[in-house]
Subunit: 261 residues, 3 copies
């Protein structure tokens, strides 16, 4: 029996997520259903794409990943079932899988249209419960992706800012701010040398942070750039909230310079 | 082994819910414990009743549903164990089961008084942990409802506003606002014709919304009335927060008119 | 298979907790992973210590308790694995286990250093995922504590305020405020006589509350002192938020007087 992860913007203050789990467990009673997060900002497909990509690869092969950030629910958008070398994904075809799939080896992409995989009665406002949840349950029990609906030639991708390297300088931007206020950039840590004093990171308009191995490399309250746990350079403040302190948000510019360059 | 659902106003910022799960798993190690929601507003029995009813029927038969919205904890209120054709419910006798039970076939109603189903030491402030959780664990393992305590002739019901139909007009009110700001009414969608231009919905004092199939039937930012996923007419704003935008809250009037009526 | 509990300050709005569960389930697929809470205030080791101690003892023997309130992540602090008569604990050596261990019979204390218990690649900013989670999974499957790393002679303890008894008066202070606004003191309820009119509780500067058995012993809106569910005297307001109403916070003084004393 596979695990099933859920990534949504449903919040947890209503019965929405619990109800999806009820549907799943009715069809796959011993599935391990794991919340990746339900607090993606409402309709924020980019943030959902980032959270899913940051979390999904730590699950065991065979896991079914469900993402329901779906501002187009009930409209003409398709629902995707994607099989990769390790996982199955179920999500609206609105770009929310862009980042997760960029790291996976895609085997097939289908449109979820098979009515046998839905609840008997389907609403037009809660496909998470009526379509995504039962399909995930069936997939976790081995239902073949090839039978979920017609094969698709391609899927929607979000435009995503790419970092740029030139001699002595790397330019990127902030792509996610986490609950601690850490501002995660799109610059792969692997593009930089090992943390040390020969590198400076500029973030936002006037802020300079040393490139160090961990938060406590600077005194409390001071900014620091570290290799973040998602593989990219991250701006933090030791014991503080970097996004507020350094006035950073999604889209803020980040620049890395080697000393003397 | 049955599933057990939890609906409370305990929030998730303290150890309360986790501790209930510890008690349950100590007695029923392989129970699937599912959070319906823990963010019912503190002591709001009506909101808890709505959340429970909206979510519970998607669970498989045999599920034990526990609701702890219990402002009278430690006082003289009874605790109910209700067996229906499909489920068992455990909840304080304060009306929180009103809406869920209205849709179920009730087989027996008992007062939870059997001391064998409690923790050895019972506090007067946290019956969720000391009484509700262990009873739910025992019930999930097949403990008979008939032995939980004395049979009761009846149970507490909340007053609940009923929608009213007259020729050409239906009158109801808002009964729940969800986290998206969608305002759910007490008017069954089945009372209306299929979504289309012949029907107008008035909500609050001055707002008019078309009756449509889904949120995107209107331009972004515009109000729309849709058949909600709980079976009742729901006021929404495409991509927005209807309750704030249309100044709707629990108790706001909703009126539906057929065109020309 | 043991249960595993998680107590962190990670919040639930990002993918952090879900990712820890992914790591755990990949190594221990049938583990029951239970959230104690993830809303410990960021870096608040005292609050985390209180939550863990209040919740952990309701889990069955064999449970692995993981606490990641870890402002020193990536720095020189050690990670502890503690085996007690009933449980195993995994936590940074920063005092977060102080209160939980005070009630347990400690059998051995080790430093978690065995590289076989980590993810292949370890970040310096997310040890919850890379070190704590896989270690907990291995421990839940029976991995011996003695092999997790070198034995330690002792562990870090938080300074913790002790209540003081003198004839006719007990002095203590508030140590935790829960989500309902109830202010929990460090005064054991067992030090007081049974609730009744012969005892008065003073909290903060000018507030007087009767010592009663439960919240509803006073009229709505009135303050009351009750034996809390964690074993200590708790200041509450019937149907209200005691901390705001009585201006109580962690550190506020509490005094108990026997009548006439």
């Amino acid at each position: 029996m596979s695990a099933i992860t859920l990534t949504t913007d449903f919040g947890t203050s209503d019965w929405f997520v619990g109800t999806m789990k009820g549907v799943i467990l009715a069809l796959a009673p011993s599935a391990a259903v794991v919340d990746l997060t339900h607090d993606v900002p409402q309709g924020d497909v980019r943030a959902g794409a980032f959270a899913l990509a940051a979390g999904c690869s730590f699950f065991k092969p065979g896991t079914v990943h469900v993402a329901v950030i779906d501002p187009g629910v009930g409209g003409p958008r398709k629902i995707l079932v994607v099989e990769t070398a390790r996982y199955r994904f179920v999500a609206p075809d609105n770009g929310v899988l862009t980042l997760a799939l960029a790291r996976e080896k895609i085997k097939r992409v289908h449109a979820l249209e098979n009515p046998a995989l839905r609840l008997p009665k389907v609403s037009r406002t809660f496909h998470g419960r009526d379509i995504f949840a039962p399909a995930a349950a069936h997939l976790s029990r081995g239902y073949p992706v090839s039978k979920t609906g017609p094969r698709l030639p391609d899927y929607e991708r979000l435009p995503w800012p790419e970092p740029v390297r030139s001699p002595g300088v790397i330019r990127g931007e902030i792509v996610y701010v986490d609950r601690f206020g850490n501002a995660i950039s799109n610059i792969p840590s692997a593009w930089l040398p090992r943390p040390g004093p020969a590198v400076f990171v500029y973030a936002g308009s006037r802020n300079l942070a040393p490139w160090a191995g961990h938060y406590q490399a600077v005194p409390p309250g001071q900014p620091v750039a570290v290799p973040g746990s998602s593989g990219c350079l991250e701006l933090a403040v030791n014991g503080g909230h970097a996004a507020r302190r350094l006035k950073l948000s999604v889209g803020s510019r980040v620049r890395v310079r080697a000393a003397g360059a």
